[in-house]
């Protein structure tokens, strides 16, 4: 398939424009309160993060640890839906200029309808999508065209056990970046990413066409600095969600958290 359309959006631009390590923050839509999605996004941009992932909550988030499980559960109790999320962020591009990705599990997306999902995401200014339980083969057969038509990047995960052949396949179909899961774990684990030097070096030296971002168990200044020795940037999820849990002043707490990272 050489009819590949180039995906070009804020996300792909962010990698070509920036030399400094990129900070990508994950947070759950509709959390802590239903209407916090946009305020959190705004505060993150004000704190100078380079890109964000908005989590679309799912009842059964099987790649997530307790912190994101809990935020998803509360967001769903708050009434968060994909439809509601698109409504909340429909005008975000009037003020938000950093790349925005959506992250979530395949079932709610299928229910919404994959074509409509991609169209609506593109319409509100989403740059890319991460669906951990969408396998590469399925993506290639049924989804790639739709993503490309809507100029959406699709982000695949790789792990310490992803074979070189598979890494190449993923690199061939990734647009945006490759999400390197730091350790064998669900999100928000306590495994130490410092043990992963061999794996990170291997990825760094594997001649990938796409930039690399390291995520899972990146949680503070130290782990961020370590991860970005090997990758263009790193992704912080659970540690951030924990930091805003119970927050009385989102703007301030978010600023403090981000300043603590770099």
């Amino acid at each position: 398939m050489d009819t590949k359309i180039q995906v070009k959006n804020r996300l792909t631009a962010a990698f070509s424009e920036n030399q400094k390590p990129l900070l990508n923050i994950y947070f759950t839509a509709g959390y802590p309160a239903l209407n916090d999605t946009l305020p959190v996004l705004r505060a993150l941009q004000n704190a100078c993060v380079d890109m964000v992932e908005i989590g679309m909550p799912f009842s059964d988030p099987l790649a997530d640890g307790p912190v994101i499980q809990r935020s998803s559960e509360i967001a769903l109790e708050n009434g968060m839906t994909i439809k509601g999320l698109f409504e909340q962020i429909k005008d975000m591009r009037k003020e938000i200029h950093i790349p925005v990705l959506l992250m979530g599990y395949i079932n709610p997306v299928l229910r919404y309808g994959i074509e409509k999902f991609c169209e609506d995401a593109a319409a509100v200014g989403i740059d890319g999508v991460i669906i951990p339980d969408l396998p590469v083969r399925e993506y290639m057969e049924d989804y790639e065209e739709i993503f490309q038509k809507n100029n959406l990047s699709n982000i695949f995960l790789v792990t310490p056990h992803t074979s070189p052949e598979r890494l190449k396949l993923i690199d061939d179909h990734a647009t945006g970046f490759i999400y390197a899961v730091s350790t064998d774990s669900t999100t928000g684990n306590t495994k130490d990413i410092k043990q992963q030097e061999e794996y990170f070096s291997r990825l760094k030296g594997s001649g990938l066409k796409n930039p690399l971002m390291i995520g899972f168990n990146v949680r503070d200044k130290e782990s961020f600095a370590f991860a970005t020795n090997y990758a263009k940037g790193a992704i912080i999820g659970s540690a951030f969600v924990k930091a805003i849990t119970g927050s009385k002043n989102l703007e301030k707490d978010i600023d403090v958290f981000i300043k603590g990272i770099r």
Binding site: A63, D64, N107, R111, S163, D184, S185
Partner: protein, 397 residues
């Protein structure tokens, strides 16, 4: 029509392996090796010997005379309730532990709802001397205390699943998360024909011993291998897949899959997936699922913890979609009364899950000439507390 899995793990439009990359190497290894291992001479010998001497197979095919008079048909019960540990579940756990041994994995994890699959897994782990960790919803641990104690006595560690609805679906989530965190030394023994390919096919093949035996036994008793009906209850659908397996391509044999209607299909407290579900993805496969308009999985309800699951295995979604099997839904009350009926007429106290299959015969317009095989998937000892506490409510009027 084809009812076996294709090379990508699909039954028609259902199945597949919708898993995060973290699980890919494990699932891929299993996919590459399961058929080869299952066909090895040494595997077959070890499995068959243990099925015979340890599980107690073949289980009898019993002509239930008084039950036959009651329903006015010729009814045979496939006595999976007589398996060691009291249900069909051990056919699968025994097969999978022998497979895990050959894969060099000695740490075993499992999910369980009622505790039957957990007990069957803990049992084979004790047999092999492997570590066993069973995830069980916090609510189910409370509901099924004796099985929790059984698992502990067998040396297993029982870990409460405290997320979400705290039942089988969440225990399955926890088991999958464990596997993500321990990819190298661990094998996940899934308890039904659910999960990513190759699990549904692998579990169906281990349970296929049920219909293999039925064919031979029925031939001996009636002169024909084929009955008019094969009936089984469906939680995830492993006992049904096993009972149907060797009849899938026998067009004259009607297959009846019985789901739990709970308090009624439309009561909001039901587990009747084919009546209420829409296609979706949960626990690694595309299948029919009970879910909200927004794609959130909803909680199932059934008096029997083993049927209390918001989905069914992809093979059953395919059997439903193609019309190859007829799906019926039986309420808590109908199942409860069928359990009492079978106990009184035949001296067999069935599991509440299996009672759904018994109850369904009242809805089938059976003729006196019909030969009916009902898969009696388990015995009722585990449900005694329910039989005691809900008697008044279900047996009045």
């Amino acid at each position: 029509m084809n009812f076996t899995v294709d090379e990508n793990g699909f039954y028609g439009s259902f199945g597949g392996a919708y898993i995060p990359e973290m699980l890919f190497p494990n699932v891929e290894e299993l996919k590459d090796k399961y058929l080869k291992i299952m066909n090895e001479e040494s595997f077959i010998t070890e499995y068959n010997n243990l099925l015979k001497d340890y599980v107690g197979r073949p289980t009898p095919l019993y002509f239930a005379k008084r039950l036959s008079e009651h329903f006015k048909a010729k009814i045979y019960l496939k006595r999976e309730d007589l398996c060691h540990t009291g249900a069909h579940k051990i056919n699968n756990t025994l097969g999978q532990i022998l497979l895990a041994k050959r894969l060099g994995k000695r740490r075993i994890i499992a999910e369980t709802g009622a505790g039957q699959h957990g007990v069957a897994t803990a049992t084979v782990c004790a047999l092999m001397g492997f570590d066993c960790i069973v995830y069980m919803g916090e609510i189910d641990m409370e509901r099924q205390k004796p099985n929790v104690e059984r698992m502990k006595m067998l040396g297993a560690q029982v870990v409460p699943a405290t997320s979400g609805s705290k039942t089988l679906k969440d225990a399955t989530n926890e088991a999958i998360r464990d596997w993500i965190n321990n990819p190298s030394d661990t094998h996940y023994i899934i308890g039904s024909v659910v999960g990513p390919h190759p699990y549904p096919d692998m579990v169906a093949r281990f349970q296929a011993i049920i219909s293999k035996e039925v064919r031979a036994q029925l031939k001996e008793k009636t002169g024909s291998e084929n009955p008019d009906y094969v009936i089984a209850c469906v939680g995830g659908g492993s006992n049904a897949a096993g009972a149907f397996f060797h009849y899938l391509n026998e067009k004259d044999v009607k297959l009846v899959a019985v789901e739990a209607a709970g308090m009624g299909v439309d009561s909001g407290y039901s587990a009747a997936t084919t009546f209420l579900g829409k296609p979706g993805v949960l626990h690694g496969s595309k299948t029919l699922l009970m879910q909200t308009a927004d794609g959130q999985i909803v909680e199932a309800h059934s008096i029997s913890a083993g049927l209390d699951y918001p989905g069914i295995g992809p093979i059953h979604s395919h059997l439903f979609e193609t019309g190859r099997a007829e799906f019926l839904a039986i309420t808590d009350k109908e199942a409860f009364r069928a359990a009492v009926l079978l106990s009184k007429l035949e001296g067999i106290i069935p599991a509440l899950e299996s009672s759904h299959a018994i109850a369904s015969m009242a809805k089938l317009n059976l003729k006196p000439s019909d030969t009916v095989v009902v898969n009696l998937s388990g015995r009722g000892d585990k449900d005694l507390m329910t039989y005691i506490t809900r008697k008044e409510e279900f047996l009045k009027d």
